[in-house]
């Protein structure tokens, strides 16, 4: 266990000092996913108030590429939220990349080993457009799945737009456009996250249930990146637009 705390400390220090480190599996090749989640939980314990959760590797194509058949999850520290209109200070990140996401706002607690997408939607009070700023603590985003789990699934900063009621919106089909400096960088529909964003969140609730955890009312869930992630530099602006939900703009300084 003290070893695991050491790994958690390495990642926490990398985050604080803005200095990327080699993947943990370079020196700890037997690191498996379950152990990696322990390393993640050790960091979570020191992360302060939680705003919610996030999913990663939700694209089936990406899963196939890295040889897994399920996504991964991480936590969102309240301190990492960017407010609407607040710029991202690139110099305070290691290697930031932006992804458009559908954000679910939980209207009530939700936990259980048999939760489905329908349960998730019933417990969701609103949805919003989000931009997640990934920031891997590993050099050049080189990592295995256990590595990225230990690194809280590359969670960096995030911004959440105006929530709107989810009733009547088919999250599977909504169109998603990510613009980078005024040009279309990528497009998708909500199905890009595990076939349906609510199915991705349901998977996470079931995974959390293994540890006796779940979602709480008021928490947000970033339900998975919907396009490829765009690298960010000072002076960049990214806009995520999602049909029926709205748009969010993020300026980088």
């Amino acid at each position: 266990m003290s070893d695991l705390q050491g790994y958690a400390d390495v990642l926490t220090a990398a985050r604080r000092e803005l200095k990327a480190v080699p993947p943990l599996t370079d020196s700890f090749p037997e690191l498996d996913q379950a152990t990696a989640y322990q390393v993640q939980r050790l960091q979570r314990a020191g992360a302060g108030a939680l705003a919610g959760w996030k999913l990663g590797v939700t694209s089936r194509a990406k899963q196939k590429q890295v040889g897994i058949d399920a996504p991964v999850y991480g936590y969102l520290a309240a301190a990492d939220a960017l407010d609407l209109g607040e710029p991202l200070v690139v110099a305070q990140q290691i290697q930031p990349r932006a992804e458009p996401e559908i954000v679910l706002v939980m209207g009530r607690d939700l936990a259980g080993a048999h939760v489905t997408a329908a349960d998730v939607l019933a417990a969701t009070s609103a949805v919003a457009v989000g931009i997640e700023v990934l920031d891997s603590r590993y050099e050049n985003y080189r990592f295995t799945i256990p590595d990225v789990v230990a690194d809280n699934t590359s969670a960096g900063r995030y911004v959440v737009g105006t929530p709107v009621p989810v009733a009547g919106i088919d999250l599977r089909l909504v169109g998603v456009v990510l613009e980078h400096n005024g040009e279309v960088f990528g497009t998708a529909s909500g199905a890009a996250s595990l076939g349906h964003p609510a199915a991705a969140v349901a998977w996470m609730v079931r995974a959390l249930a293994e540890h006796g955890e779940g979602l709480r009312a008021g928490e947000i869930v970033l339900s998975g990146g919907l396009t490829a992630a765009v690298p960010l530099a000072a002076g960049d602006v990214v806009v995520a637009g999602i049909d029926r939900i709205g748009s969010v703009e993020l300026a980088c300084v």
């Binding site: 089936r60 088919d170 599977r172 089909l173 909504v174 169109g175 998603v176 456009v177 040009e183 279309v184 497009t187 998708a188 529909s189 909500g190 199905a191 890009a192 076939g195 919907l226 637009g241 999602i242 049909d243 029926r244």
Partner: protein
């Protein structure tokens, strides 16, 4: 020099289409061939097909996404005619035998309600001329071996058009923002890819304006009822017999195609 042998090249493509046998790309023998050479061949090939009784019912626009343009090394789209004999309906079976090496692309299609003639067509004029927008898929096919195409080759080959299938549900443009229409493509129920309208030139309406202005420069007008296939919203995917493809568009509905082996006699 290259332009003068456009009729001969058109004849080679005409025979490749008829015999369903791929030929070496024209740019193998002459790498200097460019876009103008391609359109000169396309124009001759179109004449041959129209002489056979084919009817132009619209156009497809290709190379509308930045990744595709980068791959071919251009910074503008290309176009080719869509012929009546290649138009399928939602739910149809489509015979593989009709093609050489087909791939499927989900696209937004516009149907013109008014005549539209460039040059000088603006986005708002293009939008005004559109009667409605619908879900569609395009089957792209190349008459060149192994899809080993450069710009002049694909332009000559009717912009690699094979067939199209469209939904009959025509949605007024006033009710939708085509940039944000989401699309989910499945094969046999499994998710293959997703996209949104903005993948086509940033705005599918811009594709209509580009086409009107490009055709207009050659004195060609688009007519009421013409289809405009606005370009793939994702990377094209090879098709196989037994596949059931479904492109589901938010606000527009789905298009479903069943792929069957077929025989050359069954072609429409």
């Amino acid at each position: 020099m290259p332009l003068t042998d456009a009729p001969a090249k058109a004849r080679l493509l005409y025979e490749a289409r008829r015999d369903r046998t791929a030929i070496p790309p024209f740019t193998d023998a002459d790498p200097t061939l460019g876009m103008a050479d391609g359109y000169a061949v396309q124009s001759e090939l179109t004449k041959l097909l129209v002489a056979d009784g084919e009817e132009i019912v619209g156009y497809k626009v290709g190379l509308t996404s930045k990744p595709m343009q980068k791959m071919i090394g251009v910074d503008s789209p290309d176009f080719g005619p869509v012929f009546a004999s290649t138009v399928y309906r939602d739910g149809d079976s489509i015979p593989l035998s009709r093609f050489i090496q087909p791939k499927i692309e989900a696209e937004i299609v516009f149907v013109l309600g008014e005549r539209l003639e460039g040059p000088g067509v603006s986005l708002t004029q293009a939008a005004r001329a559109v009667a409605g927008v619908a879900a569609s898929v395009e089957i792209v096919d190349s008459r060149f071996a192994d899809w080993r195409i450069k710009l002049a080759d694909t332009v000559a080959d009717l912009a690699s058009n094979g067939a199209v299938a469209t939904s009959s549900r025509l949605v007024p443009l006033a009710d939708v923002d085509p940039r944000l229409i989401g699309m989910t493509l499945t094969r046999n129920g499994h998710l293959v890819d997703t996209g949104a309208g903005a993948a086509a030139l940033g705005d599918p309406v811009a594709v209509v304006a580009w086409l009107a202005n490009t055709l207009g420069a050659n004195g060609i007008a688009m007519e009421p009822g013409h289809l405009v296939m606005t370009g793939a919203l994702h990377a094209a995917v090879p098709m196989a017999a037994g596949d059931v493809w479904r492109a589901d568009f938010d606000r527009l509905g789905p298009v479903t195609l069943r792929v069957v082996e077929g025989t050359t006699e069954e072609t429409k």
